[in-house]
Symmetry: C2
């Protein structure tokens, strides 16, 4: 941004130390965790109070400056990539207070920049449980989680971020404070603006405070690893567990390629000849855990599990979940470019989806490691490639198109938990229809008439927006 | 409606038998369960397919006719009262098919006119559980439940209707089909239009098909009735149960006036000298139920419960819940006009709210029986009066104003589960602020530019809309 007056005005509102106009600073906010071209913003600002946040938005509105709000930049769909060199990136890490943690009424009020895992820890200190645990939880922010409706390993039993947002205060595109939802467990006053803001990817407003639901923690857990010869038998076991009315806390899948890669990375003794692994945790009342664990084992055996390792200690349990957490970093080591997808299907379509991904990998001669939240029907086919290899990359793009076609063809969705952002705009109409896109655009246009809130995301280029 | 051509056109689309233009028919759709003046619509139509529903909306849009969609008219906030003598009431009882009930993937696809209890029964036949159980469930429709985000007795543990809506297809104000959400358990494709439609009271679109989540049923239950000398000790027990990390399936409250009235009505042997009753049910794994029931009993005793009756048979359990179901019909017998409110507060504010209601009843010399979903902080203070007694009725109106002020003052909300409709428009700004109302109106205006979808609700008169 070359307008020195404007920079001074931001500095007057936020303090000089919270306005970053230097090239090096702006570069650092030009990209996120999606494999997409960076866009260097004009300015990066860091409000440290709700009032500063409101002033920031008013100033952007007054000057028609596009603004992209950014937590920790762990977004996997390009949602936090600035729209242009005019953009103002609003960093939320200065808005990181837990304002209230109410153990009697089981809710908390937080600012958007609180780190997810820090919040979960603070809740645990009061004997309470905040279940959403996206893979990025140690760095991601609650505001980012809400903007993307982040999922996580516990989604199967405990739901996703949306299920824990009771209310919020946010600023509209003009910087006016809007109040939605409540600290009460039920609230039907007016439109459900709170849920509309969940997953809105920064296009409809800017969160100022979020009211989050907390629950009593489960008393007992049991984790196990079930080893299968084939992907098919593992995915049949997933369907059978759910069909038998058991809802594990976590039910994760790793294919052989991912298993071998993780083992190379950590040398933890994973069964490298297994066709697939299921990592399963049941939780709840101790007697329920015992019963459900026994049933899960039985169902896995019926579906040709060749071995089931039950964690006998905290350390053994940790080993199981470490394997899951290692999946992405281990795969990402192999090639310069890692593309993590999150196509999602109804659970019973999991075997079909897995075999479609395998066929697509073969057809396009690509390395795709697949792991993910099998219990949710939410897979993460992970394509390993090198973006500089343009020939291979064109095959990657064709493969991604086909993965989405396959998911939609099986009654699924483009995105289970990573959002649309820039990465999936072009597929949106395939999942819905033209009228749905128009309905959504009308909504965006009236709530953000100057199109300054994270423009270009979800619907494509600014001209379309 | 005097326009014969228009009536013929509706008849051509829907069949003569599904177009009701006679005075007597129209009278029957002029009111709902709220105590508000009736408005006789111009026409009542009954589409029997999605296509007919779409054509109906297009015809209304073409001629600028306001339309109010109506399930069974159990609405308690006037949401289904037509807006004017020009209004078309669209009755959904011809759209009553359960299209799919998928036991493997735990979802169902339904049309909006399916009766709530019929649907729950159909799910139970497949060994599945649809928890939302509004008091009107034997007559209410799923579409109505979604439009109002209906609650019920099981809200405390299992949530409300919103927590079971996975996706939907709906028609916008022009009759275009919009697709939102998915049959997958996670979906973040585009704006959260599905949740925006939940609780939208017919103002933003007309549901065509709804995808509902089902869950495995709890294996065991235990119901009990705890008898207290005072309202204060009963409401302290409610707070203590939650604070002790127990989430009962149901946790209901009846005050002494309600107890006596129910006993007069049914003669089931309720303790008429009790200051208050708590009706409690815990459910889940048998061992968990046993533990939690024991803890609940202990907490009730610590909070001065003078007797705790545990249901020892299905019949005894039925007796407990019959008492709760009797509360409204028993109270309603006493006086010509029954006003059922649903102010809601954070649970820990329950004792304060109950004493405020008592003080308000005394101040305005009114009979108010209070019962409700204590575990949710959602009370139903029920004012018994006679609308024709204008002097008394002005005291009733003043009392209602004060009840809402009290709820909002305690950090609560205007409505836990009955909606805003016509009844609570004027209080909306007290809960939120002017900017929130404007934000909501902008949203309405762009999604329904001719203001034909249930005009006058939520924000007041058409001119304001």
């Amino acid at each position: 941004m070359t307008n020195k007056n404007l920079i001074s005005e931001f500095a007057r509102i936020l303090g000089k130390e919270n306005v970053m106009a230097e090239e090096a600073d702006r570069q650092a906010y030009s990209y996120d965790s999606a494999m997409l071209p960076p866009v260097v913003p004009g300015l990066v600002v860091r409000p440290t109070s709700s009032q500063q946040l409101s002033h920031t938005i008013r100033l952007c509105s007054l000057h028609g400056l596009p603004l992209t709000v950014r937590g920790s930049g762990t977004n996997l769909s390009g949602g936090t990539i600035p729209s242009s060199s005019e953009s103002v990136v609003v960093v939320t890490n200065g808005l990181n207070r837990i304002i209230e943690l109410n153990a009697r009424d089981l809710y908390a009020v937080v600012e958007p920049g609180v780190i997810t895992a820090d919040f979960a820890k603070a809740a645990a200190m009061k004997g309470l449980f905040y279940p959403p645990d996206p893979g990025s939880q140690t760095v991601s922010t609650l505001g980012g989680n809400v903007a993307e409706n982040a999922g996580g390993l516990r989604g199967l039993k405990y739901g996703v971020t949306r299920d824990y947002v009771m209310g919020m205060e946010f600023f509209d595109a003009g910087g006016e404070l809007i109040k939605a939802g409540s600290k009460t467990v039920k609230c039907v006053s007016g439109f459900n603006l709170c849920d509309l803001m969940v997953g809105s990817e920064g296009l409809l407003g800017v969160y100022s405070q979020i009211i989050l639901k907390l629950i009593p923690p489960p008393v007992a857990q049991q984790a196990m690893m079930a080893i299968f010869d084939t992907v098919e038998s593992a995915s049949e076991a997933v369907s059978a567990i759910i069909a038998n009315r058991i809802i594990p806390c976590t039910l994760e899948f790793l294919d052989n390629f991912t298993i071998r890669t993780v083992e190379d990375f950590r040398h933890a003794g994973l069964p490298v000849d297994a066709g697939a692994l299921l990592l399963i945790e049941v939780d709840g009342h101790p007697a329920q855990v015992e019963d459900e664990a026994a049933k899960v084992k039985e169902i896995c055996r019926q579906n040709q599990a060749k071995k089931i390792q039950v964690a006998q200690s905290v350390e053994e349990k940790e080993l199981i979940w470490q394997a899951r957490r290692d999946a992405l970093p281990a795969l990402a080591r192999l090639k310069p470019t890692t593309i993590l997808e999150d196509a999602t299907v109804p659970r019973s379509q999991l075997p079909a989806m897995i075999s479609r991904i395998k066929a697509i990998a073969e057809k396009y001669r690509l390395i795709i490691g697949t792991f993910g939240h099998a219990g949710d029907g939410n897979l993460h086919p992970t394509i390993l490639t090198d973006k500089r290899d343009t020939e291979e990359y064109s095959r990657v793009e064709a493969a991604i198109d086909e993965i989405f076609d396959a998911a939609l063809g099986l009654g699924g969705t483009l995105s289970g938990e990573h959002g649309i952002g820039l990465a999936k705009c072009k597929y949106m109409e395939n999942e819905t229809n033209r009228a749905t896109i128009e309905y959504s655009k009308r909504l965006k246009s009236v709530l953000d008439p100057k199109n300054i809130l994270n423009p270009g995301k979800m619907f494509g280029g600014r001209d379309d927006g």
